[in-house]
Symmetry: C2
Subunit: 228 residues, 2 copies
DNA sequence: CCTTGTCAAGAGCACTGCTCTCGATTCTGT
DNA sequence: ACAGAATCGAGAGCAGTGCTCTTGACAAGG
């Protein structure tokens, strides 16, 4: 693990982690757009310009934080997977995603909120970003393999461009019928839409606190994709 | 309409609008968090401190823009309503919401993106914020009244706290059964989750462009709430 | 040992939101 | 019609920001 060769390299790796830690701590209190390199450097007892030895710009620091956040969320979700009851697993994944998001609202906003102005997400963020939908898709694939997936009869077959786009998802869950793949995307957008509404305050006054609504939604969405 | 009494008041109202216009224009290019009072004042050929005669702070300006955005979106959605075919109306509302959002991505991000750091939405934003869900709910109420609503049999009855929260929605659509009210909230979160994913780049690589996916989702969500 | 690369520090640039003061203008009550 | 009050834009200034460039100290490898 700690195979940093020279003392310099080890010191550099450690300091890089410390910077991210301080940045994450500040992120949690003031939010992403108010993240200040100078404040981070103050917390670490160094001068702001020294940070640029480790991150060439504020955006690069944000990118590192974004990737870390996607990975943390992905790990939290994957930790909730497993077990024999697929429906219980589905509901547990929903709950784990929500728990992580509520525990790290600013990091959630960083990855699912409005894009930072002038900031273009590099390709490296794509892979960690799709861990959760991939997890759901994998669950459905296992369900299909074990005969626990009953595609609802009213799920329309995708056609045209939509069918073409659905093709891309087939390798990820070869046995899941296309109609269910489309529904999985719908369900995926519903999950994070619901979460964003809760965290960003759109539900205040109606479904807040959203515990029971969230659980009900997770079960209804499971039924929607045919998971029983 | 233009009943500003004194010349001062008329000038003030006009300038207030001009400031919002310039701010909106800047918003569209640089985004919300990079909206600069000084840049707005420069565009208007005045000094930055003068803006504080019209908006006590940057946040107040943002609040005004937020309310305007909610209202613009609400109007766009309401303009798509009407007609005799309720299902077509439902799909048209979805399309209108999407069209507005894609035409005004920064204003959309302003209201449905991550909350601005340190900014607390005042109560005045609530009413314009719920115009779209209210529109959908009203449509379902009309559908129920004309017997066009067939609540799916598998829609679970809300219980406990969820049932209690659903009560709040009953006055808005008295004839719509509680199970459908819960589903309407689910559908509402799906709509804006899907839209946020498209606009914020989460769908790139899978369902982008999302035209066909969006239409399919709108129809499947209509069926989900029982609209035929 | 001694060159080479890396490091933190500091000064400085252009920008931000916001406050305060200062005259000038406009409105309002008499 | 005129005096006092309210409102206006302009300007200077404060504390903060991201970022760049230069300088001198230190460690790594030949």
């Amino acid at each position: 693990m700690n195979a940093g060769r020279t003392a310099r390299e080890r010191a550099r790796a450690e300091l890089t982690e410390e910077i991210k830690g301080a940045a994450r701590r500040q992120l949690a209190t003031v939010g992403a757009e108010a993240l200040s390199l100078r404040a981070v450097s103050r917390e670490l007892g160094m001068v702001s310009s020294a940070l640029y030895r480790y991150f060439p710009s504020r955006d690069e620091l944000l990118t590192a934080l974004i990737i870390d956040a996607y990975d943390a969320l992905g790990e939290a979700a994957e930790a909730a997977a497993g077990g024999d009851d697929l429906l219980a697993e589905w509901v547990a994944i929903y709950a784990a995603v929500r728990d992580w998001a509520r525990a790290h609202p600013q990091e959630y906003a960083l990855i699912y909120g409005s894009p930072i102005s002038g900031y273009k997400a590099p390709q490296t963020t794509v892979e960690p970003a799709i861990r959760v939908p991939l997890l759901l898709l994998g669950l459905l694939q296992r369900a299909q393999a074990s005969g626990r997936l009953s595609p609802p009869g009213d799920a329309p077959e995708p056609s045209g461009l939509l069918a073409q786009q659905t093709e891309v998802l087939v390798p990820l869950a070869p046995d899941v019928p296309p109609a269910v793949l489309v529904r999985t995307v719908i369900v995926w957008t519903q999950l994070f839409g619901m979460l964003s509404f809760e965290l960003f305050g759109q539900l205040v006054g109606s479904m807040d606190p959203a515990d029971e609504f969230f659980e009900s939604a997770s079960r209804q969405m499971a039924a929607f994709v045919g998971l029983t």
